[in-house]
Amino acid sequence: MRKLFKFHGGVHPPTHKTESSRTPIVQAAMPSKLVIPLHQHVGNRAVPTVQVGERVLKGQIIGRPEGRLSSAVHASTSGTVSAVDMQVVAHFSGLPDLCVTIIPDGKDEWIAHSGMDYKQTPHSELRQRLREAGIVGLGGAVFPSDMKSYSHKHKIKTLVLNGAECEPYITCDDLLMRERANEILRGAEVLRELLYAEEVLIGIEDNKPEAIAAMRQAVADDGHARMEVIAVPTLYPGGGAKQLIRVLTGIEVAAGVRSTEKGVQCFNVATAYCAWRAITFGEPLLSRIVTVTGNVERAQNFEVLLGTPVDELVAQAGSKADTYKHIMGGPMMGVDLPSGAVGVTKATNCIIEASQAMFPPPQAAMPCIRCARCAAVCPAELQPQDMYWFAKGKDFGKTQEFHLFDCIECGACAYVCPSHIPLVQYYRFAKSEIWQREQEQQAAEVARERHEFHMLRIEREKQEKAERLAQKEKAALAAKPAAPTPLPVAADPNADPENTLQMRIDSAVAHSNMQMRIDAAAARAKEQVATEQPKNTDALTPQQQAEIAEIEARRAKFHEIASHPGADDESPKQ
């Protein structure tokens, strides 16, 4: 039996997992439209590569990754692009973001795709495949997996596969492990190969005995070496990467340190599954398992095409009439969806239909009584009450002294707070204020540099202008010797001795060979005469000369008439 470790704190919220884990995964019905956001991952938003009216095939890239940290976005089924525009997305802000809307044609026609043998393929190619297949962390962080699947600087000893699924209500990883354990483990082998990791530890909370059994069976069946399925105690937030690494290996990943520096990398089980599909079959990430639970008739897991509107998905589970909001994710860290029209994204592991009875509106916050229960449950070992105090007073420097940025926003502190203070909201507020200030500071730095360069440029231009003028003057003075008049070689005795320009010219002129200059100037003058262009009145044909004479005569006549006004009433007015 492997020795397990403990992380600090943690809470035991009611799990509510059995509601949705009793039935197998169901394929969700084809939706009437797909609203696929182009920013479903950490990093840069994908750039749309399709236009309205274009027919797309299942698996076709509709958003190409932009920059190093980005991921591709694909059409989840074949159909016609009906819009590329700003639509409301699953985000805390409720603001719109760029989405591609596809009307499915029902044929579900695949684009040409082929797999590769990961053992025969260079790692760079495998990572490129992961990037183009849009594989991101499906545990909720949606970090591009290609960026996580290498470590040049540090030797990776342990690959941790995260099947803990600690948040209440969510069972999508549980069902995936029960039903597709073999493929998850093969995906783990791919990731182990990419990372040159020695051992694979699969952490699953002990409230999922079926999943643990299925995974253990699969390890034994396929004969995976140095791969172990470990039941970890059920304790929220035991599924946080740092917490799970701590429990499995005893390694404490300090603030600002990546787990790879300690020789550990962590992936979600669903990510491993999708990585396997992408490498071996060339199937990009087009669908994911989503738990639909809460205030519904049939809580269960669906395999859902990315972009499926949440309204259409929850209808299949029989959403009850008194549902007043949809929560994406779990009740602890989830997002209240701004609308049911938003599309399912790669981060959507669960949709909880909330009724007033199940999720009553938050109680009014009371003053902090400094009971420090939040500090007792904080898995990051912070002092939440102090961070709250300073965030409330907008003393952001102090919040950072209390390590605000180590907070994983798990919500354990707010869960136990007897005063019902929305602690996490304060931390998020403080974090975003600090980020904004940093951005402003950076912008100010850039502006300062640009302004300094601007001033420098103006100064330089002034100087250059002065130099040009001086040169011109000098050239003018130097050119004078070419004239037939006596040379102004000698310095003007009346010149101001402090006239440095004059002095420079004098010395320059004195040092040059005067005779040579005069000869050169004379030659130039001669050349000009020789190459003088003929005037346009030279070399005219007799006909042209006649015309000119006629015109001249007419002009003379007009002049005559004009000089004697009144002599002829019909004279043309000038």
Binding site: H91, K394, P422, F429, A444, A447, R448, R450
Partner: protein, 184 residues
């Protein structure tokens, strides 16, 4: 008595020499306070403070000639930082001199005649263009100082506030509605 005097004189001469030497050797170029003040200022170079740029304003503050509440783009936060830096009391903005929403300049390209006057006015070289060519603003570099508005002979430059989007959205301060618990 004499020896004591000599010792004191000797010490004072020695210390004087050390101080004099270090005054020359470790001379600080410029006023470090000015740089610290300048680091707090938002670098819009807008001149709303009445000085031709952030550095001149910083110099004026350091000399005690200018108040700390003259920089609208810095906001109240900027005044607070200056007050903390200089050890003086916070001073609110004067009447109607508060900060405005952040905006960037926008050139109506149909109206622009390509006179280059705005190019010369821009303190951060954020306008691209040449004589008799259409000009345009590099929005990411624009500090929103509005110095290009006045010189434009055809009034084709306007300030556009930056709309909120997912990229610049931030969490609001948690607020709660007050619930009446008992009728009076």
């Amino acid at each position: 008595m004499i020896s004591a005097l000599l010792v004191m004189i000797g010490i004072s001469l020695l210390l004087g020499a050390v101080l004099g030497y270090s005054a020359i050797k470790f001379k600080v170029e410029g006023n470090p306070l000015v740089e610290k003040i300048d680091a707090v200022l938002p670098q819009t170079q807008c001149g709303q403070c009445g000085y031709p740029g952030c550095m001149p304003y910083a110099e004026a503050i350091a000399k005690g000639e200018a108040d700390i509440n003259l920089c609208p783009p810095g906001g109240e936060e900027g005044i607070r930082k200056l007050a903390e830096l200089l050890g003086v009391d916070f001073k609110p903005f004067g009447e109607g001199a508060g900060p405005r929403a952040k905006a960037v300049a926008f050139i109506d390209e149909n109206t622009c005649i390509g006179c280059t006057l705005c190019l010369q006015a821009c303190p951060v070289d954020a306008i691209v263009g040449a004589a008799k060519q259409m000009h345009t603003i590099i929005a990411s570099e624009c500090t929103g100082c509005e110095l290009c508005l006045a010189p434009c002979p055809v009034d084709c430059i306007s300030m556009q506030t930056i709309p909120q989007h997912i990229g610049n959205w931030k969490w609001q301060y948690p607020t709660h509605s007050i619930v009446q618990v008992a009728a009076r």
